[in-house]
Amino acid sequence: MIKLIIWAIFPIVGIFMEGIKRKLIARMQNRIGPPILQPFYDVWKLFNKKGATGGMLSILPILSFIGAWSIFLFFPMPIISFDFDYILVFYMYVFVSISLILAGIASDSPYGIIGSMREMVLMLVYEFAFFICIFTFFLYGGANSFTDMPSRVLITRVPLTIVALLGVILIELRIAPFDTAAAPSEIMAGYTTQYAGRDLAFFELAEMTKKFAIVSIFAFLTFPHNMVWFIITSAGMYFVCAAAKVTSPRFRIDQALGAFAAIFFLAFINFLIFV
């Protein structure tokens, strides 16, 4: 029961973390920034507005939010658990991205389609690297599922994988230098350009939840499994991401691919060493 309640509040934590990230970025840029609860107000305002009228346009946002939320069923406090559940979790991550891409294509706006195209191109590289990272962790930990995952620090054994996972987090959090798929100065809002109201609210919720999910899988895999470490690591990750955003401009799509190929190889090296 307690686990279910904790599972229910994870999206709220995700929104809260987004607020903290915005505040961090603002403080690093030497300005005051929005209040930490600003993402709540944004989502609340969007929920009070009318959405699209049916079809794919209103189904996809809800699907993507459910996909992102259900990642938390498996970790950090497992409600469902079975052998090789990390493969399903990986598919959940992909599912959220796929529904965003489909939403961009369904909106039939050139900006949405270009955003989806960019996301697809990047996905081919980063989702693969992401899977290799997760797989390497499970290989080194000698576990089959999230419940068996030993609670010990793996940093010394898989340093390259951790670096690669950091790169994946940057790209998943749409953080500069890898925020090419949602570059506002090039393609406006990318795949969500045509969305408004309730649908956009679901998309924002899905994205924020997914971002928190990806930060928390890092915290879960690399550090001991207790609440204090979990909070410290995920907050630290948001800090690193804010610092990355503040200090670097955005890559162009081809440059992002080049940089990401390097990250992919880093992920692969540690994997090969084990095999």
Partner: protein, 386 residues
């Protein structure tokens, strides 16, 4: 978009990367831009027509409102054209003060341009820091003239403000500003991602620059020796030895660096001018001079974006015709060649690196067909009942 290989992406008129409305029709193939066509006219306000029939003194107010970033250049150029028409001589002190304001405006405009370029690259931190330095210049403007954006600084053969008493403040602020900009310049001179994004992008060679008759900073970044302050000195520019800042490669990076160096040069120039200005207060005159005979005058000045040209014809103390050629009008033709064969990610940077001002540009509307008499009258707003 349905199954075709090429499609047209409407970049604008409203777009986060554009600070003013313009429509760029980009013919795309995936991420590649095959060609781009620009459509203007969203900022047309009929200013030349508005000026007709006004007294020369009132014209200053309208000319200032052509552009929000270079109002001083517009009003200075207009005032000097009127003074040339009426054969008026101005005092040395007034010339120096106009120069100080013009150089301040140049620094302000360049900071805006570089900041926007950083913003288009996704580098919001530098964008905010550079605009904070710009705030310093706006404060100086406020202290000198009372206005932060529109200054109403010029009058025919006089100025509305005085630097008497604030010379030390000006020099101190220039030192602080130079220090601040130098700090941020170091940031973007060493950032590897930024270099990768901007080097060899949107290259204008010297040959192209001469072919398209470019003006201002973008011409100087491509290696052209073009600076009205030196080629055709106005006010008191010939008294100061000022050499133009020339770069030779002409890509987005060089244009950014060229503008940064010009900020330093302008700050130095302001310090020299302040030291040379006679330390006496200006006696303001409340009399508007009447220009009754028919006369014509021209003037060109170096606005922040390049050569600005004014032609004024006056009769019976009324403006009969006023024609201006702003710098953007001179170099905007380079935009279409630059937008061929580039990546979509480069488009906002290319557009912001040539620093176009569409409010300056939209002087005249051209219809692509021959009008008959009635249509022409209708377009001019003359209602006929026949």
């Amino acid at each position: 978009m349905h199954g075709e290989e090429e499609y047209v992406l409407p970049f604008g008129p409203q777009h986060p990367a554009l600070s003013e409305p313009v429509l760029l029709k980009l013919k795309m193939d995936g991420e590649k831009v095959i060609s781009g066509a620009a459509e203007f006219g969203y900022m047309h306000r009929g200013i030349e027509k508005m000026l007709e029939g006004k007294t020369p003194e009132k014209g200053i107010m309208i000319c200032e409102r052509i552009c929000g970033i270079c109002p001083v250049s517009h009003s200075t150029c207009y005032t000097m054209a009127v003074e040339n028409a009426a054969n008026e001589k101005i005092e040395d002190k007034i010339a120096y003060e106009r120069m100080i304001l013009a150089e301040l405006e140049r620094m302000h405009s360049h900071l805006v341009c570089i900041g926007l370029q950083m913003h288009d690259m996704g580098f919001d931190t530098l964008f905010m820091f550079l605009w904070r330095e710009r705030e310093r210049i706006l404060d100086i403007f406020e202290k000198l003239t009372g206005g932060r954006v529109q200054h109403s600084s010029n009058r025919i053969s006089s100025v509305n403000f005085d630097i008497y008493g604030v010379e030390n403040y000006l020099i101190e602020e220039m030192d602080k500003l130079k220090k601040g900009v130098a700090k941020y310049k170091k940031e973007y001179a060493v950032n590897e991602i930024l270099k990768e994004r901007t080097k060899n992008i949107g290259v204008i060679t010297k040959k192209e620059a001469e072919k398209f008759h470019l003006v201002g900073p973008i011409a100087r970044a491509s290696g052209m020796h073009q600076d009205i302050r030196i080629d055709d000195p106005y006010l008191k520019y010939e008294e100061f030895d000022y050499s133009p800042i020339i770069f030779d490669k002409g890509d987005v990076y060089e244009r950014t660096m060229q503008r940064t160096e010009e900020i330093f040069a302008s700050a130095d120039l302001i310090k020299k001018i302040v030291n040379k200005t006679p330390k006496v207060a200006i006696v303001p005159s409340k009399i508007c001079k009447m220009i009754n005979e028919r006369c014509q005058g021209i003037q060109r000045v170096e606005a922040p974006r390049g050569e600005l040209f004014y032609f004024v014809e006056i009769e019976n103390n009324q403006i009969k015709r006023c024609r201006m050629r702003p710098p953007t009008y001179a170099y905007i033709r380079i935009l279409e060649p630059l937008l061929t064969d580039c990546k979509l990610g480069d488009v906002p940077m290319i557009v912001s690196s040539i620093d176009p001002c569409f409010a300056c540009l939209d002087r005249v509307m051209i219809e692509n067909k021959i009008l008959n008499k009635n249509e022409f009258k209708k377009m001019c707003g003359v209602h006929t009942h026949d």
